[in-house]
């Protein structure tokens, strides 16, 4: 989850109040953000992904100040009319079809708020923008640009400009291979035949989204007063929201927002800062929250979260990207009410509890084995080919997972015994005998079952068969052992476990090769029994 760093002093100025440290901690947590730390003048807060509008100092302060009751209610933002035009060429349709743009003027950047805006852009890129795949943002000094701007796609070799923070002209391929950001985001364009660019009236390229701006026209400094902003991506709605988050933040540092005209086939104007309206049923609010709030109280709670309420209708500020349903408003009402103020209660509802039959069965089997002084282990369901097959002298079919980060755990275990052998292997320095069992999930292709394995080290065939025998008589089941040639066991000392004519498992004395493959120095006998199948038989 993204974190934002706030300058405490600046934050307090924006909020309009300074709180004691404990109170500040508590209120930040209760607003639905996760306070990481307050160290000196720096506050670090984790922002949940549904609130990208809080990824800047300004956005965070805006939400916080209404929450603690200072500047309550909806904040109105307006965009002035203008003639700034962006012409969207159909060539972008396949690669990055949409953009939403705005102009903001009269900005007074300083070191602090410039940092906050850059942070906002970065955090929006990684979280809401899904690492620039969904949304990429470009900000440009207006003075360097001549409108109208074209948004179009060209073959990479035809794209040539000086990328941000570089001094020589490169073509698109060079940018993707030679610049750091190019390499990092190359996968987003690589497979395309045409790459998108913004280009102004003078034919100079402003940027190649979602990769990089031009060094000539895409660099913001403290002296920048007016900016052009574009968001590009695949879903116009998210782009508009993202744009709103940026322009409202810029407005909070004194900027004046101007509209831009986007010449799609069907032209539109962005940003659209008109508050959206959504119906809210107050009975539903009270039913969900278990409260009996009056309409007035609901109105006041909504205002604490930056909304306006009027006659069952809620006005939503343009920067909120997370209100899909009235249920989202109900959560905000709950947050404003304070989670700590809810009286917890358990309703008087009669339902009958029960453990699943299979769980119970597994527990019973474990109890029998514990009576025999066996220790239960708890191992991972993921393993590797070496353990599952090679060390066991086995050739079972295995299922590997996709893109595993742990190469030791990249395969679904197909049987339990290797897991227990691994436990024996890591416990060689402890006293013997070591007698272990576990019931765990095994995977044959993608079919799952619960499987019991028992190992006895040191142990022989008679001892392991005695255990099976006891288990079967405790379950009141007849069983039969058929000679088997299991490759993990000594020839002539392994058998299949047959119950009601079904093959449910095997047992035997492990072969010296397998024992030494696991670096063990004592004889081991073992069994494996499919508990899911056994359970089925017992319940049929």
């Amino acid at each position: 989850m993204p974190t934002v760093n706030l300058n405490k002093k600046q934050f307090e100025t924006l909020v309009g109040k300074s709180l004691e440290l404990d109170k500040l901690r508590d209120r930040i947590s209760m607003l639905g953000t996760d306070l990481e730390s307050i160290e000196g003048n720096e506050i670090t807060v984790e922002i949940f992904p549904n609130r990208p509008d809080m990824l800047s100092e300004q956005g965070f302060a805006r939400a916080f100040s209404s929450f603690i009751g200072i500047k309550k209610g909806l904040r109105e933002y307006t965009a002035k009319k203008s003639n700034y035009e962006i012409i969207i060429d159909p060539s972008v349709k396949k690669v990055r079809p949409y953009t939403a743009c705005a102009v903001v003027k009269n900005l007074k950047f300083n070191d602090e708020n410039l940092k906050s805006i850059i942070q906002l852009q970065e955090k929006l890129h990684t979280s809401y923008g899904r690492n620039r795949r969904k949304v990429a943002i470009g900000v440009y000094p207006l003075e360097k640009i001549k409108f109208p701007i074209d948004y179009l796609a060209l073959p990479p070799e035809k794209i040539k400009f000086t990328p941000l923070e570089y001094s020589e002209v490169m073509n698109a391929m060079q940018i993707l291979t030679k610049t750091n950001t190019g390499r990092e985001f190359a996968h987003l364009l690589e497979k395309e035949t045409l790459y998108p660019i913004f280009r102004d009236k003078n034919n100079s390229i402003l940027s190649m989204p979602p990769i990089i701006n031009s060094n000539d026209s895409g660099k913001i400094t403290e002296t920048t007063k007016d900016v052009f902003i574009e968001c590009s991506g695949f879903d116009l709605n998210s782009l508009k929201k993202c744009l709103n988050i940026i322009v409202t933040t810029l407005a909070d540092i004194g900027g004046v927002i101007y509209e831009t005209k986007l010449k799609y086939k069907k032209p539109i104007t962005t940003p659209d800062l008109k508050p959206e309206k959504i119906k809210l049923n107050t009975n539903y609010v009270n039913k969900i929250l278990g409260l009996s709030l009056s309409e007035k109280e609901i109105k006041s709670l909504l205002e604490k979260m930056g909304f306006n309420y009027n006659k069952n209708e809620v006005s939503i500020p343009p920067y909120r990207a997370d209100i899909l349903h009235e249920i989202d408003l109900i959560e905000d009402i709950a947050i404003a009410y304070g989670y700590e103020n809810f009286e917890e209660t358990i309703p008087n509802v009669a339902t009958i509890g029960s453990e699943s039959k299979l769980s119970k069965f597994k527990r019973k089997i474990s109890e029998i084995l514990i009576g025999l002084k066996f220790l239960e282990t708890s191992t991972f369901s993921l393993s590797n080919k070496n353990n599952l097959n090679k060390k066991m002298n086995s050739k079972k079919g295995l299922t590997q997972v996709e893109s595993p980060v742990n190469s030791d755990y990249d395969t679904l275990r197909s049987w339990m015994l290797p897991s227990l052998m691994q436990v024996l292997n890591t416990n060689k320095h402890y006293e013997y005998p070591q007698e272990l069992f576990e019931i765990g999930t095994i995977f044959e292709d993608i079919k799952e079952s619960q499987s019991l394995s028992i190992v006895k080290c040191e142990g022989n065939f008679t001892e392991i068969k005695q255990i099976l025998d006891l288990l079967m008589s405790s379950l009141n089941l007849e069983y039969e052992i058929q000679e088997d040639n299991h490759s993990s066991f000594i020839e002539g000392r392994s058998g299949k476990i047959i119950i009601k004519e079904k093959n449910l498992g095997f047992l035997g004395e492990l072969s010296p090769e397998v024992i030494t493959n696991w670096d063990l120095e004592l004889p081991v006998s073992a069994l494996e029994l499919n508990i899911s199948k056994l359970f089925k038989i017992l319940n049929s």
Binding site: G32, N237, S356, L369, K373, E435
Partner: protein, 558 residues
């Protein structure tokens, strides 16, 4: 002589027999119950009574250390007298004719009782090796070589006559020639009959074993000569204990150690009553005993079983199901958009395989793409193939989704729980694991509300031992309102995050249940709870299966 007397006890009269005996300076009175009636054969009974008393366990004549003597193990009593003169364990073994382990143990026990003190020393002892033993019996090769030379002989003849190996003959040739004992030629001739060095060598072999440190000059010379030859002698590091009798030991030696005590009570003794006239050796009841181990559930499963019981007590039914699921069930049915970071290959563990979608997938698809009359949905184009992709469940919430889809209206209200393993594509460190446990629960009830959610959670964590729980706003794609559960850690004196809960969004519930009914849901992690109880700081320990830990860890007592 015994006498009989009638005693009045609680108004009743009973006959008893009495006899007084002297033990040291004390008088002891012994009695025996005879019955309500005085038996007729009183005289015979008196005789029997006397016999009984005589054979009874009278205290041995008390001396200063009699109790200690009674505590001594037979082995200790056996070696004690030898300690007057013997100061090392090796000689003690020889003299006492006991096994070495027996002596070692007896010495240790006596040491524990402060009877003696032991000092360990190591010595290098020179012993006969394989060939050395052989030569001691048959004579050294060079001696046999010389003896064979009654008359000049060829090498072959000598080898045969002296019964030597080829390499032995060669070794002899060099050695004897060097000492001027033979003359070489076609036939070999003996020059001298006696040789002091050869005699020395033989004496040395006979005198083995010897302590390397106490060799004479001559022995030292011979030793070095033999060291050059194959397998004649070897050096062994021998550990020896020197014994020093302490004051208590010296006093103990003055005691009568020759007491006849029963060591082990045998069935035979019980049968022939031979224990009757004897005393048992006293045990040191305070002594440490070797550890034994019981069979045990894995400690994680002990706590999982307990948590299961809490849920069933609260009226919840257990859900179970597969680990492998389609992304549809794990994500889509829970209104998690297809571009959500959890659906990246680097976050979750996927298989390179696809599964089937249930019939109602279209309702889920619609909810994602455009929502319904009350919801805007996520506004993107939903990909069926992405939903089919198989994944190792990333949360037990997948079980809740499946349960909801099977639930009928007449089953309500209904409550379900699960505790199970989940997976994420993560490297392992002290606080992260790619497999982890979660405790899942849902309450499906038309009248359920947010306060109930907090109520169930508070109760569960109270039963798990966390009296103080708090709830914070949180975010999950499938719940609204969402809750983060913190419990107060009394030792760390801070709030510890345990995981998430909430009420399922209508966008989740409607496609699964067919209508918008409140569903309370939670899935906090369970590993942290266990780790806290067992005072484990590293999550890897939960899956380490260290046998010592499994054997010795405290039992879950809640």
């Amino acid at each position: 002589m015994p006498y009989v007397k009638q005693l009045k006890i609680k108004g009743q009269l009973y006959w008893y027999m009495f006899h007084t005996i002297r033990s040291g300076k004390k008088y002891l009175k012994r009695s025996k119950y005879l019955g309500k009636e005085l038996p007729k054969n009183v005289e015979k009974l008196k005789q029997e009574f006397l016999e009984e008393i005589k054979g009874s366990k009278l205290p041995i004549k008390a001396t200063k250390h009699s109790k200690l003597v009674e505590t001594l193990h037979p082995l200790e009593r056996k070696i004690l007298p030898f300690l007057k003169n013997i100061k090392n364990s090796k000689d003690l073994v020889k003299e006492s004719k006991l096994q070495e382990v027996e002596v070692t143990r007896a010495l240790q026990w006596l040491g524990n009782k402060d009877v003696l003190s032991l000092k360990k020393t190591t010595k290098e002892i020179i012993e006969l090796d394989k060939n050395g033993k052989d030569y001691l019996e048959k004579g050294l090769p060079e001696r046999r070589f010389l003896n064979a030379l009654d008359s000049p002989l060829s090498l072959k003849e000598i080898q045969k006559k002296a019964n030597l190996q080829k390499d032995e003959v060669n070794a002899c040739l060099g050695l004897l020639k060097k000492r001027g004992l033979i003359a070489l030629g076609e036939k070999i001739k003996r020059l001298k009959l006696t040789d002091s060095l050869l005699d020395l060598s033989e004496t040395f072999l006979k005198s083995l074993p010897l302590n390397n440190k106490s060799l004479t000059e001559e022995q030292s010379f011979t030793f070095n000569e033999f060291k050059k030859r194959k397998n004649i002698i070897k050096e062994n590091l021998v550990k020896e204990r020197t014994i020093e009798l302490l004051d208590l030991g010296k006093e103990l030696l003055k005691e009568n150690l020759n007491v006849d005590l029963i060591e082990t009570l045998t069935p035979k003794m019980l049968n022939n009553e031979s224990y009757k006239n004897k005393r048992f050796r006293r045990y040191d009841v305070k002594i440490n005993v070797p550890k034994i181990y019981s069979g045990k559930r894995h400690f994680a499963n002990q706590s999982i079983d307990y948590a299961k019981r809490i849920w069933t007590d609260l009226g919840f039914k257990e859900m179970e199901g597969n680990i492998i699921n389609t992304s549809f069930w794990n994500f889509d049915s829970l209104f998690t958009p297809q571009d959500h970071p959890a659906r990246d290959l680097q976050d979750s563990i996927f298989l390179k395989k696809s599964g089937k979608l249930p019939k109602f997938f279209k309702e889920v698809k619609e909810m994602h793409e455009s929502g319904d009359k009350n919801s805007k949905g996520w506004n993107y184009s939903w990909d069926k193939e992405k939903a089919k992709k198989l994944v190792l469940r990333t949360h037990t919430t997948v079980l809740s989704a499946k349960t909801l889809s099977k639930l009928k209206k007449e089953d309500l209200p209904a409550k379900f729980f699960a505790i199970g393993r989940n997976f994420r594509n993560e490297t392992v460190d002290w606080s992260h694991s790619f497999e982890f446990n979660q405790t899942e629960g849902i309450v499906v009830d038309p009248n359920a509300n947010f306060r109930h959610l907090l109520g169930y959670l508070k109760e569960f964590f109270k039963k798990m031992g966390f009296d103080n729980a708090r709830f914070r706003p949180a975010y999950f794609p499938y719940t609204e309102p969402s809750v983060e559960i913190d419990v107060y850690h009394p030792i760390k004196k801070q709030w510890v995050e345990l995981g998430g809960a909430g009420m399922f969004r209508p966008e989740v519930v409607i496609p699964l249940l067919g209508e918008d009914i409140p569903v309370l849901a939670w899935g906090p992690g369970f590993d942290r709870v266990m780790m806290d109880y067992y005072k484990i700081n590293d999550i890897r320990e939960l899956y380490k299966n260290d046998i010592k830990q499994l054997r010795e860890i405290k039992t879950w007592l809640k």
